[in-house]
Symmetry: C2
Subunit: 302 residues, 2 copies
């Protein structure tokens, strides 16, 4: 039987000495020229093949420096069924490289539908180890995902406070003296109560943006048992040092995603050393996060 | 150039004399025996083929009685890339039958990602005419969808108040003297302000459940220019008569979804007259909705 996701993630962070999650948001318009053959960016099959080639290279380069990768489903769905096949193949490549996979799908729907989403994205053979979930529909929309996570050793990251400027529109509205995202944090604690693993963390985690450090600290306190998935470092403006508060004394409790800052670290699509640039960006951010987290373990990749 | 979705939907409702949307939530465990060959319900390709065969039959039977179909993405994603291919083929079949398609995908993500979702689900050749969208991430997560809708003649239905029991967890929290779903309704009005078509309705609509009639009336008032997509009639307990308040005097302004109550109207998978049962259930609900809406047009299918 697969161990609970919360413990598998802790093992990965400790073994790798890394809390870095590399977001796989493949944008063919920014791919290295070497990968851009006929039809890439227009034909669905050709684009899906280029996406898989790019992701395969990225996975090989970042595997020593990351605990997980996070494919963003939108960039695959943009190319229809062939893109979704590339998403599935990307998960397989990441697993071969011994990386955990967080499927960034942000699904959320009524109970019967949530059961179908959980079947496809958490329980199907070859599916991700964890997925992101949107809480707007409330408890009965989350329970099928929690049940699937418990059955299959999977994990969830519930959107609590996202990193985009308009997150405030709904998430920061004040109800009964606290923000909506605080209400959601309370719900997340309840949803995950029965999934706390050996390391003290639940397999029901939370997405909490890094763009407002004070909010991160307060949500860390409100979510003591939740793994935090922190986006917004890099292209979105968050800094590694600002997230020290998210980690416990073992360097556990938070993982940090960077997508564009690593994937396109080479800048110019004509750059010949694009793979080295990707590896270098991943190594640098891993080191910055290790310093922020106070982790003392030996890093695997050098 | 494609006409705005809001006007295309009005035309469909008036031409068909129907505000019925048939939800395509294919569950192989409930399919007619005649469609369940080897591997259906386990093998992905075989199941996807059965889903398409079922949907094709449903589309043929309900086409005279419905203005649109609403494939629920979860039931296709459950079977991976082959399931997504069946989703795409289902859209094509519905278009051949002159039905509008509302893709029930409930996506929602930060701006750059929302742009990718909009590309795949609204702008790609063969994509749906409209999709459902989750508002939890706020304005900058919605704008790319609105832009795509304006460019391509597509539509959106933003989740405002859903029909499931736990919707209250977040959507009914009170902030500044009104419920979160009322705040979202206000945002929806703003998001759609520049997309109002000839008939007075915007291409940025709203999902509003039918399970609490008073709430429906108050949201109708708060969303005077929004097409309402009303789920929850039938299997979820809502009654057709309860939704009269959602329509204007022309019988426009609302469409009503029923999924399981029509798809599985035959009950027993061994029933030989399953197609007739599906057609009959669609016709009955169309008639009930026409009565509730006060629509006086002649219905097309008899």
């Amino acid at each position: 039987m697969t161990a609970p996701f919360a413990d598998r993630l802790a093992d990965a962070v400790l073994t790798k000495g890394s809390s870095l999650v590399v977001g796989l948001d493949p944008d063919p318009a920014r791919f290295p020229e070497a990968l851009v053959g006929t039809g890439v960016g227009s034909d669905r099959e050709a684009t899906a093949a280029a996406i898989l080639a790019f992701n395969t290279a990225v996975i090989e380069e970042v595997a020593p420096f990351a605990c997980a990768v996070k494919p963003q489903s939108a960039y695959y769905e943009a190319w229809g069924a062939p893109g979704v096949a590339a998403y599935e193949a990307t998960i397989a490549r990441a697993h071969e490289a011994n990386l955990l996979v967080i499927g960034d799908v942000k699904r959320g729907d009524i109970g019967s539908t949530a059961t179908a989403y959980a079947a496809g994205h958490l329980l199907a053979p070859g599916s991700a180890d964890a997925i992101t979930v949107n809480p707007y529909l409330g408890t009965d929309s989350i329970e099928p995902f929690v049940k699937a996570a418990q059955e299959g050793g999977g994990g969830l990251f519930i959107l609590v406070r996202t990193s985009n400027p308009s997150a405030a529109d709904i998430q920061d509205l004040q109800a009964d003296g606290k923000a909506i995202h605080d209400h959601v944090a309370g719900l997340v604690t309840g949803w995950g109560a029965n999934t706390v693993g050996e390391n003290g963390y639940s397999s029901v985690g939370a997405v909490v943006g890094a763009t407002r450090p004070q909010e991160l600290a307060s949500l860390r306190e409100a979510l003591p048992q939740a793994w935090l998935l922190i986006p917004g470092v890099g292209a979105q403006g968050g800094k590694a040092a600002d997230i020290a508060c998210a980690y416990d004394e073992r360097g556990l409790g938070a993982v940090v995603n960077s997508s564009r800052g690593i994937l396109y670290a080479y800048g110019d699509p004509g750059a010949s050393e694009w793979r080295a640039a990707i590896a270098g960006a991943a190594r640098t951010l891993r080191d910055e996060l290790a310093e922020a987290s106070g982790a003392t373990g030996v890093q695997q990749g050098t």
